[in-house]
Symmetry: C2
Subunit: 426 residues, 2 copies
């Protein structure tokens, strides 16, 4: 008998029929002898509809009121799921973030969890009931509702699993787990059976959309085993744990794969500041300006200075959404920064090769660049971490680049393993 936390996203509870399917899954888990706690997101488009409604009223809604508005969505889905489970003969009780003891700070719209005191959830479990908890929301010290921001429901699930010392936190989605590459780009992508938190963080940060960074960080800190799997099948998904050596004994002892997967990201743009004076403090000054514009920069490249002019170029990547504001901020500082030209390029793509094994295996980068070269893909920027190599390419080169690298590192499956069950996204 295990304690299982199951998280279902908006597409898993999009309508009455989906909710009934989720209810059957929950009941099956319960009847297999487990205690079950469920975390749900708002149904399908509910959150977008509520945002639209607010946008009809104001473009500057007070954050406190926006959080009250948005949390209505999870109240609906959790209550309806409780009804559906009850209908199947299993007692279920739904709890808001406040009732489930999800305590946060007061930063409306992007609150951080400061404590989890799930007394009512524990009591429900003890009484043999399924506890259903609203994802994405908590309560602050003022007794006001707060939201956790993007990926909030994943974080709720992991935080509850940690507080309840659950045996596993299952994250349900519309694919069978994490793959060595996006199956829409690489049809031969393989399901990853087991991956470390660290690798998952690099995959997530580099654009793999299945799991939210913050939830994985939380899981790593509290050592919550994650099981990412499909709500449309009963197949095993991907286990995210501390290290592959934690694998059950019955699995063959084998060396961990060198490479976990190939992530890609199409959502970044590149800003190039041309002709800045190559003197100490220039970069610092530029990135102060960028930071003040709240841009989340990723890769930075500074060209070798041309000795003749004493000028250099600095390029950096950032989310496209941050592009216009950042450009405006730099333009406004033209007087101090003294650059000659400001360029913006939103036609870039980023490919990242991730694998804990590359620490101890030299030659990975050579193989990567060789594969890209053979595929005729030009590399514009490079950045690395201990377990990741990322390159920036032209946007139209990204898909062939991902396929070439996936093949070069022997990641292709014999036959296609990936099935996308529902619509797109989650």
């Amino acid at each position: 008998m295990a304690l299982v936390v199951q998280k279902f996203g908006g597409s898993s509870v999009a309508d009455a029929a989906s909710i009934q399917r989720v209810a059957r899954r929950v009941v099956a888990t319960k009847e297999a002898g487990n205690d079950v706690v469920v975390v749900v997101s708002a149904m399908g488009d509910t959150t977008d509809d509520l945002l639209d409604l607010a946008a009809q009223i104001t473009d500057d809604a007070p954050a406190r009121e926006m959080d009250i508005l948005l949390t209505a969505g999870e109240r609906i889905s959790m209550a309806v799921l409780a009804m559906a489970i009850d209908k199947l003969g299993v007692k279920a009780r739904s709890y808001t973030g406040q009732q489930a003891g999800l305590r946060t700070d007061t930063r409306y719209g992007k609150a951080s969890i400061v404590g989890v005191v799930p007394e009512r959830v524990s009591r429900a479990i003890k009484d043999g009931q399924v506890a259903i908890v609203a994802g994405f929301q908590g309560v602050n010290e003022l007794n006001d509702v707060t939201t956790l921001g993007r990926g909030g429901s994943d974080t709720t699930a992991v935080a509850l699993a940690a507080a309840l010392q659950a045996d596993v936190c299952e994250i349900y989605t519309d694919v069978d787990g994490l793959f060595t590459a996006d199956p829409r780009i690489v049809p031969s992508a393989r399901r990853i059976e087991r991956i470390t938190y660290e690798e998952t963080l690099e995959m997530a940060a580099q654009g793999a959309k299945i799991l939210h960074l913050r939830a994985v960080e939380y899981a790593r800190r509290y050592k919550v085993p994650l099981h990412v799997r499909s709500s449309f099948s009963y197949k095993e998904g991907t286990w995210v744990t501390d290290a592959p050596v934690d694998a059950p004994a019955e699995e063959e002892a084998m060396e961990a794969p060198i490479i976990s997967g190939v992530a890609h990201d199409r959502s970044q743009g590149k800003i190039t500041v041309v002709g800045v004076p190559d003197v100490p403090g220039t970069a610092a000054h530029l990135f102060e300006v960028v930071a003040a514009a709240d841009a989340n920069i990723d890769m930075i490249v500074q060209n070798v200075s041309s000795g003749a002019t004493g000028l250099t170029d600095i390029s950096f990547t950032l989310p496209e959404a941050d592009g216009p504001a950042t450009l405006a901020a730099i333009e406004a500082a033209r007087g101090q920064l003294r650059f000659t030209e400001l360029r913006y390029d939103d036609q870039i793509g980023k490919l990242s090769l991730v694998g804990a094994g590359m620490r101890s295996h030299p030659g990975v980068s050579a193989k990567l660049f060789g594969a890209l070269s053979a595929a005729g893909v030009n590399i514009e920027m490079i950045s690395t971490s201990e377990i990741r190599i990322s390159v920036v390419t032209r946007a139209q080169d990204l898909d062939p680049a991902v396929r070439a690298v996936h093949t070069a590192f022997d990641l292709d499956a014999e036959e296609s393993e990936a099935v996308v069950y529902g619509g797109t996204g989650r």
Copy 2:
């Protein structure tokens, strides 16, 4: 400077444009120098949509979960209204029933208020903010959300007004107040300027739809002055207070009108149990059976016994919705009740003449019967209270009967006063 509680129903906040209109009204009241507390219902059809969703899942939803589901509607409207008021430059904060201190018992779906501790609302007022409170909902001792049942938002408003010792509780609707008859039937109906709680209760119980019985009872108990008015105009509406003698001194001292108005009710049916033994205990037994079927009976008539047969007939009225179940219950008890025939008639109408003045004015009933007779309307049943006379007629006679009585008691206005601003109903 006064403290004003304003209640807006679902049709007043049906969409973004309506919410903005309500916001302007609230801001105007605030800028006139008043403190304002607003109680809102769910937007337009939200509650019906949520009921539909639940019906797709189960026909037997746990009441606790149903309350969580339904209260999502008010969270949405209150947050959006707060945004709209904020947009107009006035600080507003929205509060759930729990946050506003609306404490109830644990009867989900039809909870009673057991206490109102509106600390946060008081603090908001003190800070110069408009407090917006979700109608229809409270919190019980388990920290679970409850709903107050039909007319719940009116009751929330009155309960808050009582707890805050507000100067007035304004109930906004889509007509200019209470009328001497339904303007859709009697175009010459007059707006009632001032009416007592008692008369309003009789009017409401007899089918006038504007105010909910329970809210009026609450207002009477705590002496909360009600002002029923239109959210579409700034005209004075109808004041519901303790007695007309409380009228401000500047008003001419004049005798209260004998008759306040003519109410009608088309939603009742009549059951006649034919040929029951005319012996003691028969009626008691019949109405035990009816009570066990949870029917809410209204008028009862027992015919004079026919001495020859020792049998009599008993007729009573009840809401049409209760008809089928009640008929089935009586039919099932046929063995004990020993009646010869069971009849059901859903083609009846009920007319009620209400007025505190009839206590001291004999001749009211004679005048009523005379007017009905002159209009060719047959009376099937009669019941009276101290301040009301009700008669049952054929359904198709009801409208002409209401018009005839309205005219006979000099209630007709010189010119039409009634304007229905929005759609139908509230």
